[in-house]
């Protein structure tokens, strides 16, 4: 085990896979020479050289299109979209091409690529550089969606994503790049589609993703200490494929579900989980399902407003302690 930051875990996973497979390439804006604007890919150019680690122009469509063309013809590219907000600029390639190529070609096309991107707010970057768009990705059939909540999961899940034969959107949380934790050394893979029970409990199931996971865990401590409530915190890690079983089992046990989502309210990923639980676990519910989300407004830039909007530990504690 080594203490590694979230950002260093990104580089570590990419390096691990680039060493393993010479067909893994990496391209993006300022990713090579500068090591990425978030310094998440430092050292890769040095180790793997300019043929495998490439800086691109500001051309999101070209970046993703090229990644797709390369993936279709024998390579395993990793592309970076600097801010997940910019997916809107090249969403066509993701949704209309990458997500559908295999299906429309009746299984002929291969698309083993990873698009990693810095997602989420908390960095005071303003509405166009702070969005959490994992729910956009979840809504499109044909792409896998991964959103790790800690450095160890970054390493294991990014490695798994790179090895995965299907296209994966890998959402890193920019507010967590600096956070350190113990990360297993050497080859480390976490299979996609496995949730992590981050904390066991019996009174309520809290499903939280990415940056909301540490907040949910903190809230769970407070809830136990001050309110005597035993919270089970589940980190799905992947929205697609979704570990529905773990969530249903947990809610069957606790009878209560709360989701904590950084994305805006409407059609957030928690809405889908609430729907699944409401349909498949209805008779075990002892209280209405509750979603804690950023409200349905663009995120303000100023810190006091941004912190108010994005779900906080206090808000989680308050909502859960007042549940039926």
């Amino acid at each position: 085990m080594a203490q590694l930051s979230y950002r260093d875990a990104v580089a570590a996973a990419i390096a691990q896979e680039m060493r393993r497979d010479k067909n893994v390439l990496f391209l993006g804006e300022d990713v090579a020479a500068a090591g990425g604007v978030f310094k998440a890919t430092v050292g890769l150019l040095d180790e793997f050289g300019p043929l495998r680690v490439r800086d691109t122009p500001i051309s999101e469509q070209a970046i993703l299109g090229a990644a797709m063309g390369a993936a279709m013809t024998g390579l395993k590219p990793i592309a970076e979209i600097m801010f997940s907000d910019f997916f809107a600029v090249c969403w066509d390639i993701v949704v209309n091409e990458i997500a559908k190529a295999r299906y429309m070609s009746n299984g002929q096309h291969e698309c083993p690529l990873v698009i990693r991107s810095a997602n989420g707010g908390g960095a005071r970057f303003g509405a166009q550089h702070s969005q959490s768009i994992e729910n956009w990705a979840m809504a499109v059939p044909g792409i896998k969606v991964v959103a790790p909540s800690n450095a160890a999961d970054v390493k294991g899940l990014l490695a798994a994503s790179i090895q995965d034969p299907d296209p994966v959107l890998f959402f890193e949380q920019k507010s967590m790049y600096g956070l350190k934790c113990d990360v297993p050394e050497g080859d480390y893979i976490i299979p996609l589609g496995q949730a992590n029970i981050a904390r066991e409990g019996s009174d309520v199931t809290i499903v939280a993703l990415a940056a909301m996971v540490p907040k949910a865990l903190k809230a769970a401590e407070v809830l136990q200490e001050k309110h005597g409530l035993s919270c089970e915190v589940i980190d799905p890690r992947c929205l697609v494929p979704l570990d529905t079983k773990s969530i249903l089992e947990s809610v069957s046990k606790t009878g209560r579900l709360v989701t904590v989502e950084e994305n805006p309210r409407l059609c957030g990923w928690g809405a889908e989980i609430a729907s699944i639980v409401g349909e498949e676990c209805f008779w075990n519910l002892d209280a209405p399902i509750t979603r804690i989300t950023t409200p349905h407004i663009p995120l303000a830039s100023v810190d006091v407003l941004e912190d108010l909007m994005i779900p906080s530990v206090d808000r989680i504690v308050s909502v859960v302690s007042e549940m039926d």
Partner: protein
């Protein structure tokens, strides 16, 4: 006053008007039949709870309405309208094994309780309170009366935990029961002196079960001239079989083989030979019952009594009777006794044995004509007669005492029956009866 649609079963939520016996404008006396109500489980006659004039009939024949709906309004002299009917209540289903020497209410055609009435005594969540899907599922699965479960959630909500606690037996709830016919007899209030040196906490209001039981006991004593007769039984033969088959039985079934199923079987065999004791008085006739359905009185943690019935004991072996008794006690413990479990009793056994009492004079469980109390079995010195002379031996001995209704038969008949039961207990080849 309003007469509401009664609840005819724990999980029954509606009833159908079968036939009206009165019309608007009729004058009715107390207990006059008003209408017949039906569900798929039961049919009952709803009598007038008070005398008065029928001022409104709200539901037509053939209509189905929810429990608690006002069916008919009676103009009672001196009374304002719309008081909820609280005269009747239903006994509870309960957990415990130990019996107390009481009888249970009769399944006769008497008014039902309406749990939605505001007069529900004691604890509990009213129906119409927020019942979550989890609570509904558990309540349905275990046939519980949720209106009798105390809610510890917000605003008194019954939570899943509350229901689970009942099911696990960790909470002894004074739950409401399957719709049993309730009481028509009532006790006449007697002036009571103020308690001496007492404070408010020394006054314990009667809950539903207590009221029902009290009324039934008075009614039973008022109806049947009770005579007590007892025999002393040597349980050696039973004991021998209990000792040899007991461990195997316990290992196999998970519970012990007690004296009770043997006593029950002996009584059954006796009743076959003395059928007048397995009967009911109807008008001025004795209605013999073809089946012997034994009611086994079950105490509810000293809070009340129920008498679930093991049916058709004549066709059952000791083992089967034991199983039947065990099944009922499990159901009682999980509050899942249903109206069917209480229906059709023809003779009742009240078992004080575990408490080691000497003898008990039980109150007859109407409309039966006799009830047997089984009391403590202890080792006593007894005189054994033989051809070579008398000797003293130590034997397990206990008293069986029957209270019987002297209207139905006389002391000699009862005594002969008691003698027969004693002989069966002492001489039967019990090993082959298992």
């Amino acid at each position: 006053m309003n007469v509401l649609m009664p609840q005819l079963g724990e999980t029954v939520s509606e009833g159908t008007i079968a036939v009206w016996h009165i019309k608007v404008g009729d004058t009715v006396a107390k207990d006059d039949p008003l209408l017949d109500v039906e569900t798929d489980k039961a049919a009952i006659e709803v009598p007038a709870p008070k005398a008065g004039v029928i001022s409104a009939i709200n539901v037509a024949e053939g209509e189905t309405v929810d429990v608690g709906v006002v069916l008919v309004v009676i103009d009672v002299e001196g009374e304002e309208s719309a008081a909820a009917d609280s005269e009747t209540a239903s006994p509870a289903a309960a957990p415990a094994q130990a019996a107390a020497p009481v009888a249970a209410p009769t399944p006769a055609a008497t008014p039902m309780s309406s749990p939605t009435s505001a007069a529900a005594t004691g604890s509990v969540a009213k129906s119409g309170a927020m019942l979550s899907p989890a609570v509904r599922k558990l309540v349905s699965q275990h046939n519980l009366d949720v209106s009798s479960i105390a809610g510890t959630g917000k605003k008194g909500r019954v939570t899943r935990q509350d229901v689970l606690a009942i099911i696990d037996g960790s909470t002894a709830a004074p739950a409401a029961a399957p719709a049993q016919a309730a009481v028509t007899g009532r006790s006449t209030p007697v002036p009571v002196p103020a308690p001496i040196g007492a404070d408010a906490r020394s006054l314990i209001p009667f809950d539903r079960i207590r009221k029902l039981t009290a009324d039934h006991m008075v009614m039973s004593k008022a109806t049947s001239p009770h005579v007590l007769q007892a025999v002393e039984v040597d349980y050696t033969a039973v004991d021998a079989v209990r000792k040899s088959y007991g461990p195997g039985w316990k290992a196999d079934k998970g519970y012990s083989l007690t004296y009770l199923p043997f006593i029950a079987k002996a009584i059954v065999l006796g009743l076959r030979e003395f059928p007048k004791i397995n009967s009911s008085i109807v008008e001025e006739a004795l209605q013999l019952h073809p089946l012997i359905n034994l009611g086994i009185a079950v105490d509810l943690n000293f809070e009340g009594l129920v008498v679930p019935v093991v049916r058709d004991c004549a066709s059952k072996s000791v083992g089967q009777i034991a199983e039947g008794i065990k099944a009922l006690s499990i159901k009682a413990r999980s509050k899942s006794l249903s109206p069917d479990d209480f229906a059709g009793g023809t003779y009742t056994i009240s078992n004080s044995g575990p408490f080691g009492t000497l003898m008990t004079a039980p109150v007859i469980n109407q409309p039966q004509v006799a009830i047997m109390s089984t009391d403590g079995i202890r080792k006593r010195p007894v005189v054994i007669e033989s051809e070579s002379g008398d000797s003293i031996a130590i034997r397990p001995v206990g008293i069986l005492a029957q209270s019987f209704d002297h209207r139905a038969f006389d002391g000699a008949y009862s005594a002969a029956f008691m003698n027969r039961v004693r002989n069966i207990l002492e001489q039967q080849d019990w090993a082959s009866e298992l």
